[in-house]
Symmetry: D3
Subunit: 136 residues, 6 copies
């Protein structure tokens, strides 16, 4: 019996959307006010969804505490109260759009989860804008 | 890398569930208080979910502004503060159940989106009742 | 020890904002799209807040079941799935703005509550627009 | 046209996570504070999602009232304000983890739904921890 | 300039509403299914609201971290994953209604806060039932 | 009859909590990770609550459209997608704590509202941390 276990977490961060190889005007045209060179920020809400078989001994797919600790060490400690462009190595050469942040979080968590699990990441940039990525 | 971008929107509308070719009694039997001939209404919450490849240049699947504007012109301008049965042509001969409204919204947005995108519509009639349609 | 007990409820209704003694143009000017003669509607969310002393015997200010039943008989049965302008006597000559609906609900519930209780009504017309009235 | 109809419901219950065939120490090690022999509890939020074809006559996949009544008789009446370990027969020999509760709810509702429908259960143990099961 | 700083927290607990000096029938009559001798439970959501002057040096009324730590030591460590009737001394002889739990939380936090602050406690037993207490 | 009309809005911004006249170490000690010199950010949620008499002619205390437009011009246009420390004049010499942001928003809106209205500002920095200010 395959069940998906979801864990919600959050982090607050500053970011700016732009490409350093583009002119300011082109960045302004494509990214609008998200291109503010002084940065803006968000309360990111994250749902990490792990799919696997129920362990008949414990009744768990995965102990939520393990998932919670993994999110803390891989995501919250790395991103919370940070400037994503300036301080998070993964975004040194990668535009921190919600799409790209979700892919990075997926890759970081997937590498630490047992390979038997499937993973899906849902990332809310605001309550109205959010993205989903499942490694496909 | 396929990512789904979700955009939330809303509109307020009046509607009535009934079939003009049925007796009032049969409509009352099937649709209950939703058959009120004087109409009732809802705050509809909409999530439009667009799936596609991340554009490596921008880091976007789709610019959310494009999606937001499309929802405004196709859905909000057409449905908001309207009487769905009386004023929205698509429901002249179609019962405005949540299921049918979701299908209509899907068809309207799909026709305007680039064909490379997949679309899913989630429509909340109330916080407790909602539907999902993805063109299948 | 004075404690406030809050109970949340909801109802769905159609309405139109206008004054029959004004021209259509003046109504359009003041009430905009809320003046749609074919009506629009909302999922109204209601919080009824009752303040009083804790009964030392039960530990209750008021049994929430009593409050829930009162909201059902006075508000839900009267307003839910109704057209406020056409079917609810209190709005025959009173514009069903959120402010006026809150006052009517306050008056209906206050009349049925023991006089020792204070009452406050919070009414959400949408998640972004809401009003509060406490009989002052 | 296949649409999914979702209905949200809730119930409050006490539970304890443990295996009677394990020592208290092993239970404490695996289930932590969820192993409290005096029980703890949750407000469980449930979403039952039914997928099927839209009936062209009514515009419904399933009348939400049928789904609501089914959830009431099969889930709310059986679990609400109960001690899951002590009073719910399905958990006499089954650890009431969120995963296992979701599977039991799936089995109970699936048995009563017309076989043409697919079902998915989402169960929130807390706003931060939830699970999904669809019979696979 | 007086500002109120609100901090939200939560805990999960089991409880039973009854008076040991009443017959089971009288308890059943007054407390209904909340009188289940095997207990039921809730996800309690707490908002602690502290009012005071803004410190012109820091711009804080109170460092939210101090408030968060106080809620952890006084409320979460004492109530979370506990059976309120059996394991929390304050409810040995006090019925754990939402009203009484709010008063106890108020008293515990007030005793540890600097006396210059006013305190208000909002406690959600469920999303639909909640209480407020401010020491009056 | 005095009613309070509430309007919800939001803006996203970057900020840093610190005093330029303190050493980095003292700022770190008082403001912790909020002192990050590269900034972090939030989705701020705002509720502006205006209290006044119901106008018997319209049934409005204040046309919500007026309030919405005022919040847009005074708050959203000034703060949204901005770095509060660097780009918003009011915080050139004022630490942008939630408390201080609420006071600034209060002062800006109060100056533009008719003097007969009372105003209260609720500002969410995160869903768990929020403040209230009403000019007292």
């Amino acid at each position: 019996m395959k069940v998906t276990v979801h864990r919600r977490a959050h982090f607050n961060a500053a970011h700016r959307l732009y490409r350093p190889d583009w002119t300011f005007e082109k960045n302004e045209d494509i990214f609008g006010k998200c291109n503010n060179p002084n940065f803006h920020g968000h309360n990111y809400e994250l749902i990490a969804s792990v799919t696997g078989e129920i362990d008949p001994e414990t009744g768990y797919v995965i102990d939520v505490k393990i998932l919670k600790d993994l999110i803390k060490s891989e995501v919250e400690d790395a991103f919370d109260h940070k400037n994503l462009n300036v301080e998070v190595p993964e975004f040194k050469d990668l535009n921190p759009t919600a799409e790209n942040i979700a892919v990075i979080i997926y890759n970081k968590l997937k590498a630490k989860l047992e390979s038997k699990f499937q993973l899906e990441i849902t990332l809310y940039e605001t309550p109205r804008n959010f993205v989903t990525y499942s490694g496909k």
